[in-house]
Amino acid sequence: MNSLILMILLGALLFSIGAMIIVMKKNAIMMLLGIELMLNASNINLVAFNRFYPTRMDGQMFALFVILVAVCETAIGLALILRVYQYYQTSIPENINELKG
């Protein structure tokens, strides 16, 4: 099978595993790992398609920007998780139910 199709299928597999982690896991840090996995799946697609247009570097540039935005998102997300943990003593989003009616 062609290597491009294999790369895209790997991206699809990683994306769906990331979605499953976000839906299934209780821990907030584990959800963050799932989001990172989905962003990596999109990066695999960008780089794989860039290989077929080597005169333009658009795919690789976009992959770089996706990596940088993912870094920002992780830093802010972990800061919020730490803050919530200090206040509620838990990192499980289901247990934070102070506003529940």
């Binding site: 790997l10 979605a19 840090i29 992780t74 003593q89």
Partner: protein, 167 residues
């Protein structure tokens, strides 16, 4: 089969297997280590796809920076409980249904619609990335720098004054 193709398949298998192991990990720390293996094998795939700069950035920023930050987060959030963080599953049926539906839909679309073209030879990728960062992508480059600065200040402010606790 050439050795490059074998390396390709090995990296693909490692990435897929470590992602599946991350799905079934029982502690957050082991999950982060499986994620590290997944990131490194994806970086290997980038090198084999003629994207050396993206691969180096992946190793430096993801495997070096993000993973260390996540491990620090795990250490801080398991300090008060004094036991390793166990991961419990909820919504298992919904998660499995959503994941298999997404994977099946994407696979169907890819296998029906992908047009296979010839693999072209690669020019000097790093040189053209540097040139386009300074010409075509100058504005996104500056904007991403501003975003990183805002993130730095924001994360410091959010975590700076952690004294009051709910008793």
């Amino acid at each position: 089969m050439s050795s490059a193709l074998i390396t390709y398949y090995v990296f693909m298998f490692t990435a897929a297997a470590s992602a599946i192991a991350l799905l079934f990990a029982r502690s957050v720390f082991k999950g982060a280590l499986w994620f590290l293996i997944c990131l490194l094998s994806i970086a290997g795939l980038f090198v084999l796809s003629y994207a050396e700069f993206v691969a180096v950035t992946q190793i430096l920023i993801y495997a070096g920076g993000v993973l260390v930050v996540i491990l620090f987060g795990i250490m801080f959030t398991s300090k008060l409980a004094a036991k390793p963080l166990r991961v419990e599953n909820t919504n298992v049926i919904g998660g499995i249904v959503a994941g298999t539906l997404i994977f099946g839909l994407l696979t169907k679309l890819v296998l029906e619609n992908t047009v296979v073209t010839e693999i072209a030879s690669s020019p000097r990728a790093i040189e053209s990335i540097g040139l386009s960062l300074m010409t075509d992508y100058a504005l996104p480059f500056e904007v991403i720098g501003l975003l990183l600065l805002i993130t730095l200040i924001g994360a410091s402010v959010v975590t700076a004054f952690m004294k009051e606790k709910k008793q």
